[in-house]
Symmetry: C2
Subunit: 107 residues, 2 copies
Amino acid sequence: MKLAFDDFRKIMRIRTPLDIGLAIRDRRRKLKLSQAALARKTGVGRQWIVAVEHGKSRAELGLVLRILSVLKLPLTIGPDHRRLVLDDGPDPVDIDAIVNAARDDRT
Amino acid sequence: MKLAFDDFRKIMRIRTPLDIGLAIRDRRRKLKLSQAALARKTGVGRQWIVAVEHGKSRAELGLVLRILSVLKLPLTIGPDHRRLVLDDGPDPVDIDAIVNAARDDRT
DNA sequence: GGGAAAAGTCGTCGATCGCCTACAAGTAAA
DNA sequence: TTTACTTGTAGGCGATCGACGACTTTTCCC
């Protein structure tokens, strides 16, 4: 069974900041984006991308969520392992809306 | 099909810091932990728990990952929706090890 | 090899972090 | 009511954030 995005089939368990960094880097490269380009799309500094891809543990949660949205990398919680998983609905991904909302979300 | 932990079957897609906060609060209450107790177990201040549960967007990624480990809330990336999911292995969760490692992980 | 783009590093800056102490409101039991 | 517990806030503190500009190193392509 072949999919448009092979990499999309890979499920990765996130345990450390580095796990996220690697996932981000992988995805960024598959999308042919430079760090600078991704930084622009996400609304962060390029150095921040560098740090996060290297596993920066003190990165802001909001920014991390934002970059995952930009990269269309879905994040899920709770679905414990070894279990049949049916998502609870369609995937109304509206990146711009998410990103824009996140922009002013700074509590 | 009944499971030991009903709530564990729920899969939640994380889009915003508040999503994480709600998941944390839910889980904490199911485990009968007070914010203070969870803060102690996680190694953070109680106010941080309060803020995160309310959707603090600038929370540190490392601490968020830590509290998810303490609560045994698995986080996954990439498994896009509506797909059969088979975890890639056992679940060698060793909270103390994870937490301790994270403690000095401050890049 | 040579040149350019990408990636990584450093230092400065204002803003915010997370921790602490303390206080107030709400609940529940005695 | 009194006591105890939980949750939410506020102010102060040292430490660090992330943006930015400038620089060096690495990677890529002709």
